[in-house]
């Protein structure tokens, strides 16, 4: 994992000092509300319904145990003993006091963390594959490039006041687990016909109000040109992106309105003029790569036989292994998902005690590192199979072992009307009701791989438009209604869900979801997954049943 050098540390320290001054100037009336809004957003600070909300960066989802203990400390000291993991692999605190935020940021800086550019119309936290470096389908580990991009984007003087927010994701595997087709810029590590690894560059993807699948702007980009090419795209966007209407200000609209050909001609022209003066050297790439060298794996980890025995002896353990762990590139190891989707807990939330305990487990079982996923769970990426049984028991006691990863109750969910000032409808409550309605774990496992994404408003923080089942909260004359889409996907088979029909009332949404699941169970072919069935039969059979009584 990347460790700060003196430059990194100085930068975050100076940023804290700057924000402390800005906060003081705001509180004393020297800078206006409007100005402070722009400044605080660039330090992750929103003003929500009840209190400010602070979003802390989880750089491409990587944390160490020291950082987790600090998050626990912050939750305890400055907040109400919990925090929330987001779809951008970040961490949110929902109850900080405005005047204490500089202190929180200073505490974060002590453990090499920050909240820089986690909101505002600037380049945001770069996200990546949560199984980077350990998965079996990897072309190259994307994390060094994420770190290079993190540094390049941080405090970039030219691109901090963009038309709108700007998000990038990098994937290095065959299976796209980073939703790269739905980012302003998506990067895939690929091999060219000579076997040399470079980037396929996608542009103009995005979710929110107008979901768009990104288009390939550069099928192959040499690594050394990564930053100059990003710079060219950002400059063209900064100059020509729309600033007259915030709903049309994302790069996806610029690409759409100007057409990919014209947009890429502008980018290409700009890039050719800057690419030779801003090359990424092999030495720099290698220096960053060295920070992501594999940990000291035990070569004999696969000699263990206890793992098999424990699975034979304990059905619950076997189930957990099946759903909450995944194959690792090193024999005898598995990557372990910690489910933040226990039935009675708001999706993605974690208490201070859980944070501390997970830090200890990471130290004990996974080289002191923890990852967050864009589906709002955590991962201990490097666990020996011999340790899994013990780890499972400990996670179970922490309520972090619900065996539901990748199932219907592993929902992505935004904070919704309970916390967010943008929301039109509640989402946490609906998630709870779905859990109550689906309380039979065997039924959940029988349904299998299905992704429900639920957002409380059009902004789509929970990526509802790419959920296999998407649920979007809408306001109808002051009451909460829900629009359902089917067939979305953010993976290789990227698709935007099709609308099922008119929105359903709050007291009908659970019925609608269970009806959809019943239609699936009755009509699937053998072990056909939900998404495959929707793609095969379309939305009509679901629609007929959901709206049968209306």
């Amino acid at each position: 994992m990347y460790q700060y050098n003196e430059i990194d540390q100085t930068l975050v320290n100076e940023r804290v000092a700057q924000f402390r001054r800005q906060t003081e100037q705001f509180l004393s009336g020297e800078i206006t509300e409007d100005q402070f809004r722009a400044l605080r957003l660039r330090n992750g600070l929103y003003v929500q319904i009840h209190a400010p909300m602070l979003r802390v960066a989880g750089p491409y989802g990587l944390f160490n145990s020291t950082q987790f203990r600090k998050l626990a400390h912050i939750a305890r000291t400055y907040d109400k003993n919990y925090c929330h993991f987001t779809t951008r692999q970040n961490v949110q605190f929902n109850w900080p006091k405005l005047e204490e935020v500089p202190d929180i940021l200073e505490e974060l800086a002590d453990v090499q963390m920050h909240a820089i550019q986690t909101s505002g119309n600037c380049m945001r936290n770069t996200t990546s594959d949560h199984l980077a470096g350990v998965c079996i389908d990897e072309i190259e580990d994307p994390r060094p490039y994420c770190e290079i991009i993190r540094q390049w984007t941080t405090l970039h003087p030219e691109f901090d006041y963009l038309p709108r927010k700007f998000k990038m994701a990098v994937s290095g595997a065959l299976h796209d687990r980073a939703a790269t087709q739905f980012h302003d810029i998506g990067l895939h590590l690929v091999k060219n016909d000579k076997g040399v690894i470079g980037f396929r560059v996608l542009v103009g993807g995005g979710l929110g109000r107008t979901p768009v699948i990104g288009q390939v702007i550069k099928p192959y980009l040499e690594k050394k040109h990564l930053l100059s090419y990003l710079e060219a795209i950002l400059r063209i966007y900064n100059l020509f992106g729309r600033r007259d209407n915030k709903y049309k200000a994302r790069i996806k609209i610029l690409v759409k309105e100007s057409g990919l050909d014209k947009f890429s001609t502008l980018v290409e022209k700009e890039w050719l003029l800057i690419r030779d003066s801003n090359e990424l050297s092999d030495a720099r790439i290698n220096a960053i790569k060295a920070q992501f060298a594999p940990p000291a794996y035990d070569n004999a980890a696969d000699k263990d036989i206890s793992f098999t025995e424990q699975q034979q002896a304990n059905k619950a353990f076997t189930t957990w292994v099946k759903f909450n762990t995944t194959v690792h590139k090193v024999a005898g190891y598995r990557a372990v998902f910690l489910s933040l989707k226990a039935p009675e807990v708001p999706p993605g939330d974690m208490t201070d005690c859980q944070l501390d305990a997970v830090a200890d487990l990471a130290d004990q079982y996974s080289f002191g590192e923890i990852r967050s996923t864009h589906r709002q769970n955590l991962i201990l990426a490097d666990v020996k199979q011999a340790d899994l049984f013990m780890l499972w028991q400990k996670l179970d006691r922490l309520n972090l072992a619900t065996p539901n990863i990748g199932t219907v109750t592993d929902m992505i969910c935004c904070p919704g009307l309970d916390f967010c000032s943008l929301a039109n409808a509640g989402s946490i409550g609906v998630a709870r009701e779905i859990n109550e309605a689906l309380d039979d774990i065997d039924y959940i496992h029988d349904i299998g791989d299905i992704k429900i994404n639920m957002s409380g408003c059009m902004n789509g923080c929970a990526h509802q438009s790419v959920g296999h089942i998407g649920i979007l909260g809408v306001d109808k004359k002051g009451s909460e209604w829900y629009q359902i889409t089917l067939g979305g996907s953010s993976e290789n088979d990227a698709a935007i869900g099709e609308r099922l029909g008119p929105a359903v009332a709050k007291d009908q949404i659970i019925n609608a979801i269970t009806t959809i699941l019943d239609v699936y169970i009755k009509n699937r072919l053998n072990d056909e997954p939900f998404l495959a069935m929707v793609n095969r039969v379309g939305v009509t059979p679901f629609k007929e049943q959901v709206y049968a009584d209306s």
Partner: protein, 150 residues
């Protein structure tokens, strides 16, 4: 009116002449449109010349005229309009302009570090009391992650 230029508070000797105003004498800035219509007159006028640039002005059009220019004013209609940051970068990095680049209008004193990094060397803030903040904010950071003009 005072401004900050090259880290110091100095008196401003420049005057902006609106598109329909006269006289075109002394050290003056004009819009790109005025520059184009009154080009002949402006070239021979008594004094130095500057251009006042809006975010929507064409960078390429600016580039054609830089030889006769001693000052470019970047006129912020709103601090959130980041196009002028790219304009400054173009002036310095692409067109090699070495004269004064001055931020004017509704920029924030908290943006001057970034502005200086993209090549802005003078600041005429909305409020005179911002001047000392500007000088200290220019030193907000001693490190940087990426290349720009400075």
């Amino acid at each position: 009116m005072q401004i900050v230029k090259d880290n110091q508070i100095i008196d401003n000797n420049w005057r902006y002449v609106a598109d329909d105003a006269e006289p075109l004498v002394g050290d003056i800035t004009v819009s790109l449109a005025r520059w184009n219509t009154d080009n002949q007159k402006l070239r021979v006028h008594d004094g130095k010349l500057g251009l006042r640039i809006a975010p929507c002005d064409s960078v390429d059009e600016m580039a054609l005229n830089l030889r006769d220019i001693d000052l470019v004013e970047l006129d912020f209609p709103d601090f959130a309009d980041g196009r002028l940051f790219s304009h400054a970068w173009y002036l310095r990095s692409r067109f090699g302009y070495q004269g004064e680049i001055r931020a004017i209008g509704h920029f924030m004193p908290d943006q001057v570090f970034y502005l200086s990094r993209v090549g802005v060397n003078a600041f005429a803030p909305e409020k005179i009391e911002y001047l000392p903040f500007i000088i200290s904010n220019l030193n907000d950071f001693t490190v940087k992650y990426q290349n720009s003009v400075n």
